[in-house]
């Protein structure tokens, strides 16, 4: 890996042809058709200059796929990939650019119904940038709630700005903070984001628009990298795949849970907690976030565990990439390794919690079969490709996995989950889980 920072360049293809000159740095092109993100393209240094003809070559399959996805709804099958074939008739008759123009031209809604909840912990500068991006939304949300999860309330000053409700939740844990936020939220749509994220100006509008479909209980969106300056940031985004990678909308429902159930439903493919939203009514039905999970507790996966509950209850999660945020990835290797360790530990904890709650044994099978196979395969690839840095990241994941295993051996921890299952139907469950 070379150490030169990468340039992230947004290109709206609807604005006409672009010839990209070489400037000595590798590029990540983020391709758009007006307000629709249609794909990304990574270019090594000498792959530039990049001609308009090459841009057309690379963009054509993305544009076609986008137009087809915006014509008929797609449902996630195994791996979260769509299971419906595109269809020859559609491919032959579809006016791809016309269809995209029509979708992009639909007027965006207001965002008064939306409460935005930002959970933060000791990252004042990044939080300020996040709040700035909220203040410059094309449609301001009805409410902004910042939940400060730091011990000393370090975010209080930054939140002293108009239109921001500040809450202090000193008990550590992202799930606790999120539950505190949703208790204070008034809107009938609740969006969550994190302090290390900057929101695209149309974010609130696109989140609200995604709920136009009344069957949708939860929405997730696209997470782009804010910067690719360091090898660690690029390793996370490009080699590990980042948070989300698809650029077309896709519906996740109980069928998705069914097809992936034998090996542990792959609910993490639904999206990322840094860019998610819910109808308020789902929390009344299903309770709040599981406070045993998430950053500050088990590590992560409180988001995907909640999507799991939605799907298990017959609900629908919609991934809508038009809702775009840009995430600041960890800039140093140590931070990334710590993050991956926490992710894997949290992932295993969530698998245990899901198995306990629903009796779905596939979750346990994933811990003992899929994950070790994944580690072995990635280790082989890293050795074959002489990627020492990949092996070190992998080791962090293996350690996280081992930490996650300890949750299997904690009967009291697991009992809390089982208890919350039986009461999940009552709105009081949130509070009970919190105080258990």
């Amino acid at each position: 890996m070379t150490n030169a920072p990468w340039r992230i360049l947004d290109i709206d293809l609807a604005e006409g042809p672009r010839d990209l000159a070489a400037d000595g740095s590798p590029h990540l092109l983020v391709l758009w058709w007006r307000s629709l993100p249609i794909g990304t393209l990574a270019l090594a240094r000498s792959e530039l200059p990049f001609s308009a003809a090459q841009l057309a070559d690379a963009a054509a399959p993305m544009l076609a796929d986008q137009a087809l996805a915006r014509t008929t709804a797609r449902h996630a099958g195994e791996d979260g990939a769509p299971q419906e074939p595109a269809g020859l008739d559609a491919a032959m008759s579809l006016d791809v650019l016309g269809q995209l123009d029509a979708v992009a031209a639909a007027p965006p809604p207001r965002a008064d119904r939306l409460s935005v909840i930002v959970c933060t912990r000791d990252r004042p500068q990044q939080l300020a940038a996040c709040l700035d991006s909220l203040a410059t939304q094309a449609a301001l949300p009805g409410q902004v709630v910042v939940v400060d999860n730091s011990g000393g309330g370090s975010a209080r000053e930054i939140c002293a700005r108009p239109g921001v409700t500040y809450l202090h939740e000193p008990a550590p844990g992202l799930s606790r903070a999120r539950n505190a936020g949703l208790a204070a939220a008034r809107g009938d749509l609740l969006a969550f984001t994190d302090d290390d994220v900057e929101l695209a100006p149309s974010w609130t509008q696109e989140v609200v628009r995604a709920f136009d479909d009344v069957s949708v209980d939860a929405v997730t969106g696209l997470v782009l990298p804010a910067r690719l300056d360091t090898p660690a940031q690029r390793a996370f985004e490009i080699d590990l795949g980042g948070f989300t990678s698809r650029h077309f909308p896709i519906r996740f429902d109980s069928r998705f849970l069914e097809v992936t159930r034998h090996m542990g439903p792959q609910v993490w493919r639904i999206g990322a907690g840094a860019n998610m939203a819910f109808r308020r009514s789902v929390f009344a039905r299903l309770g709040g976030f599981d406070e045993r999970l998430g950053a500050g507790a088990s590590g992560c996966s409180e988001d995907s565990e909640f999507w799991y509950r939605i799907l298990a209850a017959g609900g629908v999660c919609l991934y809508e990439p038009r809702a775009v945020v840009r995430h600041h990835h960890r800039s140093d290797w140590q931070g990334l390794r710590r993050q991956l360790r926490a992710y894997m530990a949290g992932h295993v904890a969530a698998l245990v919690a899901q198995a306990d709650r629903y009796g779905h044994r596939g979750n346990i099978r994933r811990i003992f079969r899929q994950l070790p196979v994944y580690f072995a395969r990635k280790a082989m690839q890293a050795v074959q490709n002489l990627q020492g840095w990949r092996l070190r990241l992998l080791w962090a994941e293996v350690v996280g996995w081992a930490i996650g295993l300890t949750y299997l051996l904690r009967p009291r921890w697991r009992r809390i989950g089982r208890a919350s299952r039986s009461r999940a139907a009552s709105p009081a469950a949130t509070a009970e889980v919190r105080h258990a």
């Binding site: 042809p17 090594a44 057309a56 399959p61 076609a64 074939p85 791809v96 002489l386």
Partner: protein
């Protein structure tokens, strides 16, 4: 074992595909209004054809998205006004052959069929008869007007290619092997590639199977064949996500269908005659020239419409030998690159490691799964590679030097 090769026009009603009792699969070449859209191998129980509905389902799943992409590419090019007004270049087409007059005539007929509609500023066809054992090739060429016949007495494909380079006059010089025939869109595809990238150093194109009548041909195509996909792509000295590029130059295409800026080839000194010598070192010459074009700072463009149909090896021993030549040719090329291009030595070393790992993995997997045929192919390629590693390039250079001296 035999597959029926079917050309399917997607803009027409989709037909059923019946199979004869000895046929146990379909190779489906899909087009839309003549343009190539995709290719798919479909194994079937012997004699059980596909209903129109079944063919339709395959088309929905496999060809709808590529077709929509091709249409989107066209619309975008129109909207962006990408059709450039650059003057058309002249083209020389060189066919190097040895004692295969019937196949050569088949290729020349396919060229006759497309050259009439050519938009190139000039077009010449050269046949290089490489150390022939009789006059059959000359006689075959005489049946075609406007085809130049050359003789290269020094045996070796790259001697013949260099003879063509010395005699050719076009701005572009395209090479075809005698075991292909060209697709109807071959010339137009090459011109389109050149117009999309006027300063490219070279072009490669799609290689589809000419027939799938034997077990070996089906096996080769099922393992991927020469297929490089149906979307154009440009290669430079680096490629994102491929740390070893351009050392694995095989992804660019195959020597049976390639074209270069003739002046660039001259400035590079032509092909390396120690590669592609026929036995005992067949192969490696195309990898070497792709690599050198890229390392000269020039782009190579892959264009699917610039397509040929290749007659794959007919028997399993021939096919096994082909995999052996791949291993051998690749390692000879790697050794040469290591010597002549010190700047990229870390990549050459990493490629050697990667290749050993990859091939041993293939051997291990096919052995574990009890796949004897795949094991045979993997082993042949590995063995060829080992042979290539232990001095084959030097031995070949000495042999070629003797051939030069004998001729002088």
């Amino acid at each position: 074992m035999a597959y029926r090769l079917v050309q399917l026009e997607l803009s027409q009603p989709i037909p059923a595909i019946p199979l004869a009792p000895e046929e146990d699969g379909v190779g489906l070449v899909a087009r839309h209004e003549g343009r190539l859209v995709g290719f798919r191998m479909l194994p079937r129980p012997a004699g059980e054809g596909l209903s129109a509905e079944a063919v339709r389902a395959v088309c929905d799943a496999e060809f709808a998205l590529p077709l929509a992409a091709i249409r989107a590419r066209q619309t975008l090019a129109d909207r962006w006004d990408l059709a450039p007004a650059s003057p058309a270049p002249s083209l020389s087409i060189a066919i190097c052959t040895k004692d295969r007059a019937a196949r050569l005539a088949r290729l020349l007929r396919s060229l006759e069929a497309v050259r009439g509609g050519s938009s190139f500023a000039g077009l010449e066809i050269l046949v290089v008869d490489n150390a022939p054992s009789d006059e059959s090739t000359r006689e075959a060429v005489e049946a075609f007007p406007d085809v130049r016949y050359l003789r290269e007495p020094k045996a070796g494909l790259d001697f013949a290619r260099n003879a063509a380079l010395a005699a050719a006059t076009g701005d572009l010089l395209a090479f075809l092997d005698d075991d292909v025939v060209v697709d109807a869109g071959w010339l137009g595809g090459l011109l389109r590639a050149r117009r999309a990238c006027p300063n490219a150093g070279g072009f490669t194109g799609l290689v589809l199977p000419f027939r799938l009548d034997t077990e070996a041909q089906v096996a080769f195509e099922s393992r991927g064949g020469f297929g490089r996909g149906f979307m154009p792509f440009e290669f430079r000295t680096e490629r994102h996500g491929h740390a070893l590029h351009p050392v694995g130059a095989g992804v660019l295409g195959a020597g049976c269908n390639m074209c270069f800026d003739r002046r660039l080839l001259l400035s590079l000194g032509g092909f390396d005659e120690a590669l592609d010598t026929g036995a005992p070192l067949p192969g490696g010459g195309d990898l070497d020239i792709f690599y050198r074009v890229l390392r000269a700072g020039r782009t190579m463009r892959y264009e699917p419409a610039y397509a040929v149909y290749h007659e794959h090896r007919e028997t399993l021993p021939q096919l096994t030998r082909q995999y052996w030549t791949w291993g051998l040719g690749f390692m000879a090329f790697l050794e040469k690159a290591r010597r002549t291009d010190p700047e990229l030595r870390p990549r050459h070393a990493a490629m050697l490691w990667w290749w050993m790992f990859d091939r041993l993995g293939a051997i291990g997997r096919s052995a574990l799964k009890g796949r004897g045929q795949a094991l045979g192919f993997a082993w042949a390629e590995f063995k060829g590679g080992l042979q290539g590693m232990v001095g084959e390039y030097d031995r070949s250079r000495r042999r070629v030097q003797r051939i030069r001296e004998q001729a002088a």
